[in-house]
């Protein structure tokens, strides 16, 4: 079933050559935040100085996923994996590794869990249980070079679709694969396409939801930055399948790099005739426009997203009619998440069977998570569906830092739930997570350790929902505010047992009476924490105590005299002048003056400030 694209020379085979001499520098947002762009520049200059620029490629790649250790550099042949590489280390890498053929020991990854130094990329524990099928190009290819994508069999699927398949066959193949929407709801993608295909009204639109709004999640951003062509190819195939000629990518404006890479990629595809009129000589025409979001979480909801594309306030519409019948500009529209589209070329190219062989029966394929919070190895991971939470947190994530205890894992973002330790062995898939009281969501996974107050955590999510509620439905508009107020009362020591009843009542009303998922699911973080950590709520209410020592109204700070060297940092930082003491002598906090802001604890280098 191998087909040839009409431009074989465009592909750059070096990306597949293990012997190719290359220094790959991660240019994802995480690593560029740690100066990887300067690093890339310095590496080029260093090689120039040694007249090696023609021989050794310095490649800008997408995200390796191990963002916490960035900037990441991988030197090939050999896939030597360097972490936290500063621009000033470029000289060492060139001189010691490239010229001297000697790996730079101090830049190699040191695994805190095994206390070992790891040299090769794929030997790192972080990658051990991962299965990268969606992220298989990230970190390998230069996302701004279509030649790399083509060499990785890119656009083969599109070619195959246009030359050998009918739209119905494409839909059947996607349906067969069991692909479920990666935006969170997990609706079967093929079935959704089928609905849009069936509506006899033109024009139709293909919309990519890249408004990744969940705080603590950056999966879609990494895919767009690391492998933009996969998303584009998926969208073109979707357009062919449903009979659309125009596509929109609705991307958060907070992702300037992703938008830039998309623009470059779109330009390249147009140049090669992969977008535009009569794609690859077929009678199918399709083009894509980028729309930048403007900062509204609710626009991740598909109808609000379409309202926003239309230049309106991002307020959801009632469904039905569903977008497949009446969506953007009241025309049939198909909205999928970035990852869903990016899976499509792989499914078409390798077959539905291949895809469904990964993961579980109900949730085939892999899941991509942004693993963050209080965990040793944070970053972007891709794991097969069915893996347990424990494997993710301890094997991939390397456990909880600072010897602290695990408390909860939060999945699904502000509309998801928190699961405690007893759920760590459930398999990760759409249905199991939902059964446990959380959701898969788009892929945010935040780990909370024992120092996290679950009431405060729930309050954080509720505050987020209050800020992001569009204001259309009273249950969400007012209910979320009332929910927040109840949580505020509890964290301020003014809560009553009736507040817990009120929370349940508000949650039920919001869920029943809201138009969109934002209002319906907003109570989930509160309800799941209340269910699993009721003791902690009750401690706040009945004992006026915050077990995690976070809620300012319920704690006091003290300085442990034995640990305090009298460095005066805390006293200097205290805004309420509550800390006194001579230089070199242990300091004391005056509880009357202390506003319990916690700044002293945060700035103390000797852990001498403790919470009582």
């Amino acid at each position: 079933m191998h087909t040839t694209l009409p431009f074989p020379n465009e592909a750059d085979p070096t990306v597949n050559d293990p012997q190719h001499k290359c220094i790959a520098v991660c240019m994802g947002t995480g690593c560029t935040s740690s100066q990887s762009a300067q690093l890339h520049q310095t590496l080029r200059e260093e090689l120039d100085e040694h007249n090696l620029n023609g021989e050794i490629e310095v490649r800008r790649t997408g995200c390796f996923g191990f963002c916490e250790q960035g900037p990441i550099v991988v030197v090939s042949p050999g896939e030597t994996f360097y972490t936290e590489v500063k621009p000033r280390s470029a000289e060492t890498i060139v001189e010691q590794h490239v010229l001297g053929n000697q790996p730079v020991e101090r830049l190699l990854y040191h695994d805190p869990t095994s206390d070992a130094t790891v040299e090769k990329w794929h030997e790192i524990g972080f990658y051990g249980k991962q299965q990268r099928i969606l992220l298989d190009n990230s970190g390998i290819i230069d996302p701004e070079n279509i030649g790399h994508y083509l060499a990785r069999e890119g656009y083969q699927a599109l070619h195959q679709v246009l030359s050998e398949m009918t739209p119905e066959q494409v839909i059947e193949e996607v349906t067969e694969s069991g692909l479920r929407g990666r935006g969170g709801a997990g609706f079967p993608t093929g079935v959704k396409w089928g609905f849009a295909r069936k509506t006899q009204k033109w024009p139709k639109y293909v919309i990519c939801n890249a408004d990744e709004g969940d705080p603590g999640a950056f999966m879609d951003r990494s895919v767009l930055e690391g492998d933009p062509h996969a998303v584009i190819e998926g969208m073109i195939i979707a357009g062919f399948a449903i009979g659309a000629q125009a596509g929109y990518i609705y991307c958060r404006a907070e992702y300037p790099l992703a938008i830039k890479r998309l623009r470059v990629a779109l330009e390249q595809t147009r140049e090669l005739g992969l977008l535009g009129d009569n794609i690859l000589g077929s009678d199918f025409s399709f083009d894509i426009t980028i729309k930048e979001g403007a900062g509204a979480f609710v626009c991740g909801e598909e109808t609000a997203l379409m309202a926003s594309i239309q230049g309106e306030r991002g307020q959801p519409w009632p469904r039905p009619p569903y977008p497949a019948v009446s969506g953007l500009w009241k025309q049939p529209s198909n909205v999928n998440n970035v990852k869903s589209y990016a899976f499509v070329p792989r499914i078409i190219h390798k077959g539905a069977e291949w895809f469904s062989s990964v993961g579980t029966e109900g949730s085939p394929g892999t899941a991509v998570f942004a693993l963050t919070g209080n965990v040793n190895r944070t970053g972007l991971i891709e794991v097969p569906m069915g893996i347990t939470l424990r494997e993710i947190i301890y094997d991939v994530g390397g456990g909880i830092p600072g010897g602290k205890k695990f408390k909860a894992v939060q999945t699904g973002g502000p509309l998801g739930g928190c699961l405690p330790e007893e759920y760590l062995d459930i398999p990760v898939d759409f249905d199991s997570l939902q059964e446990a009281g959380s959701v898969m969501g788009s892929g945010g996974m935040v780990i909370a350790d024992e120092a996290t107050c679950m009431v405060e955590f729930a309050k954080f999510f509720t505050k987020f929902v209050c800020d992001e509620s569009c204001g259309k439905c009273p249950p969400c508009r007012i209910g979320s505010t009332r929910m927040l107020e109840a949580l505020e009362r509890i964290t301020e020591g003014e809560g009553t047992p009736e507040d817990l009843d009120e929370i349940y009542w508000l949650a039920d009303g919001m869920q029943q009476g809201s138009l969109c998922a934002l209002g319906q699911l907003a109570p989930a973080p509160v309800i799941s924490t209340l269910r699993h950590f009721e003791d902690e709520y009750r401690a706040h209410i009945e004992e006026e105590r915050c077990p995690a020592g976070k809620c300012q109204a319920l704690i006091t700070f003290e300085i442990v005299a034995d640990l305090c060297p009298g460095c005066m940092v805390c006293a200097r930082n205290c805004a309420s002048n509550a800390i006194s003491g001579e230089k070199g002598e242990p300091h004391v906090i005056d509880p009357e003056l202390c506003e319990r802001c916690g700044l002293c604890e945060a700035v103390c280098n000797f852990d001498a400030v403790i919470v009582k």
């Binding site: 947002t29 995480g30 560029t32 935040s33 740690s34 963002c67 916490e68 960035g70 990744e212 709004g213 969940d214 705080p215 603590g216 999640a217 950056f218 951003r221 907070e254 992702y255 729309k291 930048e292 979001g293 403007a294 900062g295 509204a296 979480f297 926003s308 594309i309 239309q310 230049g311 309106e312 306030r313 991002g314 500009w329 942004a370 963050t372 919070g373 209080n374 944070t378 970053g379 972007l380 939060q410 973002g413 502000p414 945010g444 935040v446 996290t452 955590f457 954080f460 999510f461 987020f464 992001e468 940092v569 930082n573 205290c574 805004a575 802001c597 916690g598 700044l599 945060a602 700035v603």
Partner: protein
């Protein structure tokens, strides 16, 4: 009734923007984005001009401009500090960064300092969760921020920018 401050602005800068989007359906949001790029915020005159040129009501433009967090209807400070309070940053200490800024620079979220130098705002997730907590000062991303660092970095940044303009 909150009157919009209509500072005097050169409206002709918008001509090019209208030109660019003349064919595009639903171009209100990108036009607002371009306008904000041009002026740094969205003065009332600009909103009214956009309404007139797009043939929509000023209310619709105002409704959209106030709906999205990205748009400013007040003049912003010369420097903008965004503190990320996404979940990952939150659990890793953004609230204490806010406290440090409040104490150290006497500025609260959503406010602009009295001298007009700095605007501080809280944003939800910049997607750099692995570097939590993250702050963005103008275009510069600052990962793994600590309370004692943030005030210093901001002060330094403002001071050096001032020096550059004076020179």
């Amino acid at each position: 009734m909150g009157e919009i401050d209509n500072g005097t602005v050169d409206l002709s800068s918008m001509d090019e923007v209208f030109e660019q989007y003349s064919e595009e359906q639903g171009a209100l949001i990108p036009i607002l984005q371009k306008a904000q790029n041009t002026y740094g915020w969205l003065p009332g005159d600009v909103l009214e001009l956009i309404a007139e040129r797009l043939g929509v009501s000023p209310g619709q433009v105002y409704g959209v401009a106030t709906f999205y967090a990205q748009f400013y209807l007040e003049e912003q400070g010369r420097h903008i500090l965004k503190l990320c309070d996404g979940t990952a940053c939150h659990v890793r200490g953004t609230p204490i960064l806010v406290t440090a800024m409040e104490d150290g620079m006497n500025i609260r979220p959503g406010e602009t300092s009295e001298d007009g130098e700095l605007t501080m705002e809280i944003v939800y997730c910049l997607g750099s969760c692995a570097l939590a907590p993250v702050a963005v000062l103008d275009e510069q991303v600052m990962g793994r921020m600590r309370p004692q660092m943030i005030v210093r970095r901001v002060e330094k940044h403002i001071a050096s920018a001032k020096k550059a303009t004076e020179a």
